[in-house]
Symmetry: C2
Subunit: 480 residues, 2 copies
């Protein structure tokens, strides 16, 4: 592909994306532009194997023109994707992207640099550190997370799963005084979390050699929040058995029901026993951009590590998880390895950050660009407006459900997620979810809370407005 | 940012990238376009802290226009990056990008879908599976890696480090019969690799709870290749000590010197002892796109897992590591966790692949697009031409060095890397590297081979031509 072919194709693709993400009709009240995500079903109608069958089984032997590739994108790829940017997106979690963020990802791709060490691309490291400091300020996080603090700092991880794993590895290193790097002994280490914790907690622990025999599922209360008394009792029993409590996870906004564990109490217990205290606020933490929602971070002053995802509610393209720790030394102890071919005077001076030692992989993209672009060009006011709107729409929906005796609201709904069940029982709820999702106009996720089937309504797509929530309610309540 | 602002900014950014990556002067023999990477120093001249100091310490309170952001990109970011796409790039490894690949990354960003499960975006999974099958065919890999094979298959990982970790976790699961998921016991497991293995081997093992006490550094021969006799002896000693050999790594093109371990022999030993046999060909494996270089994969018929990086020599933007295993069951056993909110009929039918269970994180981008775009639009011929050219340039440089008595060629150089030392000793070599890198016209990496300081010359940037290698040789030989 020549530079001029790239220019032409690139301009076309930019226009395609502009249209795809634009859900406002060109003329107020008129029809949508036909490439808009809003004109498509949320969930594609393809069956397993359909997409592959539409493509050649074998690679081409000669280069093909852009036109053919783009035609396949429109004919095969777009009808085969689930439209996470759809205004009827109430499933899983919001995975918002934004125009500035797409530009940031494009620039990162076009520069093609590696940020594994400061010296391999200084701007990649320094903009990232600055962005973590900006986010610390915007979210009102503890000063101990700032890059200029004595022992803390932040980094962009690819996902909350990786942030969790890094936290667990830091905890494992500290609890063993670093011995784990030589002896690999992990079988006495015990971790604590509720059943409402994200699957990445168990996955990360398993990867780190902490099996289910050493993962304690701490009882939760009627709000799906951890019971501190149960935590304390379990720790005491483990200590009495000669085990080593080393890691506790606190959910600030759990995946299934947006439950908040009581971090002030959990953190205090962890301090008493030198247990690494991790706060997982992957989805909800971004709400702290809004002053009246800063309570989502209550108790994180006690945390050894914390993560939240600009790639969910803030509109920065996946992958962009912001992770902070107050114990940089344990992180570096867990993950640093310095072969000859990565040595540099800059690294050895201790004056620079080499982010490869803050993460699982070695290589890394210039992900800070998309965060920088989004904060600068969309601006904080736009994030606040979105979050306030989503929460208001959710509260409104919860009110409607609460006053409709066909429905139960089965968990607290302090932010942008409401969990509903039909009073008619699980089977009716499951059928409702299936029927609603088959409509193509909205998509919901099913979960189970304390054994009960639940319809989760997550409101947070950047294109969702009141009329889409109204339509979703109409869809949910039709024929039940 | 409005759709129209995005269009305008996007077109400008596309043009900027077209110019940045274009190293051919607009008029033959005329001056470069001034935005070309070729007009810049390879290594930026910034000191630690310079980039950050040029940016505001605090986030803006109101949105800023695209013009201001782009001005900062040109004024602060570009002069602060190391130019991995420079024609004078002889450092680390080639990290080639290509125009089609940038477009693929852009489309992935613009669609904003999540490919964690088939159902969360069917096309994301199915195109990926097809791309792994295309690559299996293009590289001439074993049929047991194909998605239609009985027990194998492939996946895109973010990096070779993650591929290695996934291999180790699969091996750990198989060696313990899955017991590790419950008991976390890893202290009897022993892993084998040479000192020439990439740092990600030790890092991955450490993460998985295999400490340095259980990592055997197997002796290498004068070509920096593993000695199978030493491997066999070490395994025997470990078995006699009641330990469990579980994982061996074979380098096909090591990072420091492009050494090839003898996989036919290593693989046979691993088969004898049911040791997971992983082949790490992160850089060199792509050479198998060229028929006469298919030998780079000799012995991988015996491998349980294998990885190579399209994001190095093939021109697909980082991150794109292709990873295959012949033992899908161990991989899924190691990494599957299925919470209620991720259940789907499609997944439970067993008819679809849920790639979240093939990797460390949960979330995943639509990375297959950039591989698909690059194969279709640049084409296999272009990859073969680049690889043949790079190898020829490297052989030519090695000949020049071999016939110059100031230099020693200190390792075999079968592909695109040549390792040089000054006969004058380590201090002279170190000074030479420092002086050459300070020139700004080329960048090299220093390594150490069997205690000796070495100048690595890695030839593989997509913009490097004979005149750049000539200039590099002139630079290296000046004043020595």
């Amino acid at each position: 592909m020549t530079p001029d072919e790239f220019r032409r194709a690139g301009h076309e693709l930019i226009d395609f994306i502009a249209d795809y993400l634009d859900t406002a009709p060109p003329e107020p009240g008129g029809p949508q532009n036909e490439r808009s995500v809003a004109t498509r079903p949320v969930q594609p109608t393809v069956e397993s194997g359909d997409v592959r069958a539409a493509l050649p089984e074998h690679p081409p032997t000669a280069p093909e023109p852009w036109e053919d590739v783009m035609a396949d994108v429109e004919r095969i790829i777009v009808p085969g994707i689930t439209n996470w940017q759809h205004p009827g997106w109430f499933a899983y979690f919001p995975a918002n992207i934004s125009y500035p963020s797409v530009l940031g990802e494009l620039l990162s791709a076009g520069l093609g640099v590696q940020g594994m060490s400061w010296v391999t691309s200084p701007a990649c490291t320094e903009v990232e550190t600055l962005m973590l400091d900006w986010m610390q300020e915007l979210l009102g996080l503890p000063a101990a997370f700032h890059s200029t603090s004595e022992s803390g700092g932040g980094v962009i991880q690819g996902s909350a799963s990786e942030a969790t794993l890094v936290a667990i590895l830091s905890a494992r290193h500290r609890a063993t005084g670093g011995a784990v790097n030589a002896d690999g002994a992990t079988t006495k280490l015990v971790a604590y979390a509720t059943s409402q914790s994200h699957s990445s907690i168990e996955k990360g622990l398993r990867i780190a050699g902490i099996g289910t025999d050493r993962i304690r599922t701490i009882a939760h209360d009627e709000n799906f929040a951890m019971r501190p008394d149960a935590l304390r009792q379990t720790i005491d029993a483990d200590l009495a058995a000669g085990l080593t409590p080393f890691f506790a996870n606190s959910n600030h906004g759990s995946t299934s029901s947006m439950a908040f564990d009581p971090s002030p109490e959990i953190g205090a217990i962890c301090r008493d026993h030198d247990i690494w205290f991790h706060v997982d606020s992957a989805m909800a933490g971004i709400a702290a951009l809004v002053p009246e929602f800063r309570w989502v971070n209550d108790g994180i002053q006690l945390a050894d590590s914390y993560c939240t995802n600009p790639h969910k509610w803030m509109g920065v393209n996946f992958d962009c998880t912001t992770y902070w720790t107050t114990d940089r030394a344990s992180l570096l102890g867990a993950l640093s390895i310095l072969p000859e071919y990565l040595r540099s005077a800059a690294a050895e001076s201790g004056e620079v950050i080499d982010y490869r030692d803050w993460q699982i992989p070695l290589g890394r993209r210039f992900r800070a660009l998309k965060l920088w672009f989004t904060i600068r060009m969309d601006g904080v006011d736009s994030f606040q407006e979105r979050i306030r709107r989503d929460v208001a729409l959710t509260q409104d929906l919860a009110l409607r459900a609460a006053s409709d005796d066909r429905f139960s609201v089965v968990a607290p709904h302090p932010l942008n997620l409401v969990c509903l069940a039909l009073t008619g029982g699980d089977e009716a709820t499951d059928e409702l979810i299936e029927r609603a999702n088959a409509s193509g106009t909205a998509l919901f996720t099913r979960t189970v809370l304390d054994g009960r089937s639940v319809l989760r309504v997550s409101i947070g797509s950047h294109t969702t407005r009141a009329q889409h929530v109204d339509a979703a309610w109409e869809l949910i309540t039709r024929d039940v």
